[in-house]
């Protein structure tokens, strides 16, 4: 008899448990969703800015100039140092691609200096005077539907941050991580050669 009772109890418990578990899970999920969604929304609308070099293509911005790339009020904004900025709507951005590039530092003065250095000293300097950058490529549409492309050079690791920020704001980001990996490995192999 005792055995029967204990079995029944087990059955009732085992019958109740899944319902409680499901209910508890639902409550947890709801609470988590409630707790997270305002943060995400705030995060998505929070202004964001990063130092960048505009290489080419961005609306009315000069090529190869340094400035600040920012995302604010639904617009992607690039402001040259000490000049008025230009912007495009974030909605018009059609795709974002991230790549990497290793470049020589110092620009033209450094190149001239290296060329003038005696006994091939400039070549030795070149061997160490390079830095890796993230290359962020954007594809966006103008008011007539024409396709534009823009390329920005950012510090290593910052490209990913900008890409995520754009992704949070609803920009479709094509997964081109492999491209970065491929480029970096190619660059490393070149440098090793």
């Amino acid at each position: 008899m005792g055995l029967v009772v204990s079995r029944n109890r087990k059955n009732t418990y085992s019958g109740r448990h899944p319902i409680w578990r499901v209910l508890a899970l639902l409550i947890c999920c709801t609470l988590t969703a409630l707790a997270q969604s305002p943060t995400d929304r705030e995060h998505a609308s929070a202004p964001f800015s990063v130092r960048a070099t505009h290489l080419l293509g961005f609306e009315n911005a000069k090529s190869n100039c340094n400035g600040t790339l920012s995302i604010e009020n639904g617009a992607l904004h690039f402001q040259q140092n000490g000049k008025t900025g230009t912007q495009i709507k974030v909605d018009s951005v059609r795709d974002v691609f991230l790549g990497g590039e290793s470049k020589q530092v110092g620009g033209l003065p450094m190149t001239m200096g290296k060329a003038a250095a005696p006994f091939g000293g400039g070549r030795v300097v070149s061997l160490f005077a390079h830095k890796k950058y993230d290359i962020l490529s954007l594809e966006y549409l103008d008011t007539d539907g024409g396709i534009h492309g823009a390329i920005f050079q950012l510090g290593k690791g910052q490209g990913e941050v900008v890409k995520n920020e754009l992704s949070n704001r609803g920009v479709p980001v094509t997964s081109h991580q492999d491209q970065t990996a491929k480029q970096n490995s190619a660059e490393v192999s070149h440098e090793n050669n």
Binding site: G57, F97, S126, S137, I147, H148, H176, H190, E191
Partner: protein, 187 residues
């Protein structure tokens, strides 16, 4: 008296030499001015630049964008086309004489700026593309294979600028050649 004569002859000779030296560019200019007046003046034509097709080559997307943007810039600089449209531009449909510029990447050698700076002989970035000007009905009016390289100084992306410059130059050169004239006849 003799000295005056000699100096005047020398002056005349100098003028002659200067005139001869300056004459070839003047001729070139005349040809350049004439060419828009022939059969097909590209001034009456519009061109739509399509995005770069690199499906056969593993080319970084930044290079595709750079070629496209540089090409639009370089074609604008030539001032030979009435309008330069971008792919997807709705107003291109209203253009009377429209040519579509298609670019297919055939070969790409990825270089390294550091390698170029260190060795001076290796690490060149090389791009080879096939460029076509196609009419609305799909007839090829112009076709060339064009190269763009960076061998010594500059970043890898500079190859795209050189390539676009060479493409614009090739299109300019072909203006008075038969294919364009044939297109004019067809249209």
């Amino acid at each position: 008296m003799k000295t005056t004569k000699v100096s005047s002859i020398a002056f005349a000779a100098a003028i002659f030499v200067v005139a001869v030296a300056l004459s070839p560019p003047a001729r070139c200019q005349a040809v350049a001015v004439e060419s828009p007046g022939r059969g097909v003046s590209s001034g009456q034509w519009s061109v739509q630049v399509d995005q770069v097709d690199s499906r056969n080559v593993d080319l970084a997307y930044s290079f595709q964008i750079a070629i496209y943007e540089n090409l639009v810039d370089e074609l604008n600089k030539t001032k030979r086309f009435e309008h330069i449209f971008r792919e997807g531009d709705r107003s291109a449909g209203e253009a009377a004489n429209l040519l579509v510029l298609k670019t297919t990447v055939e070969k790409y050698t990825r270089g390294s700026e550091t390698q170029r700076a260190v060795t001076s002989v290796s690490g060149a970035t090389k791009l080879t593309v096939r460029t076509q000007l196609v009419t609305r009905d799909g007839k090829v009016a112009f076709e060339r294979t064009v190269d763009g390289n960076v061998r010594f100084f500059g970043s890898n992306l500079r190859a795209t600028h050189n390539l676009a410059h060479n493409m614009a130059k090739a299109i300019m050169r072909s203006e008075s050649e038969p294919p364009t004239a044939i297109v004019a006849g067809q249209l």
